[in-house]
Amino acid sequence: MNATTVDQKTNVWEGGATRPLGASYGKMMMWFFILSDALTFAGFLAAYGFTRYKFIDIWPIADEVFTHFPFFHGNYPMYYVALMTFILIFSSVTMVLAVDAGHQMKKNKVITYMFLTIIGGLVFVGSQAWEWKNFINGEFGAVQLKDGKIIQFVNPEGKQIALEDFATPDNQTVEHTRKNGLWFEKGETTYEYTTNGLIEAFKHNPEVGGIRLEKLNPETKQKVVILDKNEALKFLEQSTRVVRGANLEVNEYGSSQFADFFFFITGFHGFHVCSGIALNIIIFINVLVGTYERRGHYEMVEKVGLYWHFVDLVWVFVFTFFYLV
């Protein structure tokens, strides 16, 4: 072989003279990064699976948690997250179209498709934020017992109702803020309802018919409902605080671990989407100023495309294990 030193140096970055794997150095390393990241996500989802099996009889039902759709009131499980999945798959398609156009050195097409990909990513992150907002704000409200169990309220037909459907706000505590409390540092979140007020309303208001436990009936795969008020009061007398929405400590839907894993895994995925958008924007600008036109190939678009498809790939699994299974 009579190759010059310069050629050999460039060859190293192209995978060496023999190119045992037939891929350039950069693309190969992107694949191995994706491999390690896939194992990370697999670890998270496996931990989610472990915890879910550990609390298999008290795990919240996803269909009852994620029921919102923009501009529509009512109960629409699954539709919104299905839409998000489509948005991400579609932005994957525009990405692969950009890579395809890059192979044919069609700069303008690459610009169009990269732009659409970035827009798709931004729409997805925005949708994710909306989903988080609904999850954090909650819908029905619940009370937590001293031993940590979550109790929800149902009407006499056994359908879940919100706190405001049967109780009137009775918590007059003024929440201090930095504006009116001189020495105010921070305090517990206060709610409009107190547990005593809720118990009184529960005793006297015919609108509320009973309570719903976290526990699932293995036969029906639905939560156990107690419509006997005296029986239900024995639970409510143990209540210690009112819960509305979700945070890392407690949530109105049931096991606190459910919210922890939801925030952590979708948050980590959302972080990947954000960094993917940032990378896409950098490459987009490079395409605009003609860096790859001068370089003679659009392999950078392909590499960042690999990462973007991986983000889509992870979402496919998050979608399955958080919303479907």
Binding site: M28, L39, A42, H103, K221
Partner: protein
Amino acid sequence: MAQQESNTKLIWTVFGYLSAITIVEVALGIWKPHGLHYTNFLGTSLLNWIFIILTLVKAAGIMWYFMHMNHERKNFVNSIIIPLVILIPYLVTLLLIEGSYVHDSIAPFVNWKY
């Protein structure tokens, strides 16, 4: 790099299949057929197994066509795929079995009567 022929048609076909699989998944998730939902096969319902299999098909479609694994050399593809198919099922199987065991150990001690 030499100009390659355009694969636009293939890309849209794959998109069609991925969308169809997603629609089937969502439809099954809303409908929850009784005969599939209330069954138990290897630790979960048949419906869940359908979801998992459809998801793996989707993932394979994305890797193979969108991430252009079909253009890579076979030993490179193997160096990516083999660690995944060995390590992930191994970890998941162990953790799910242990999770069930922990549940069986602690659940009888949770009090549901007051």
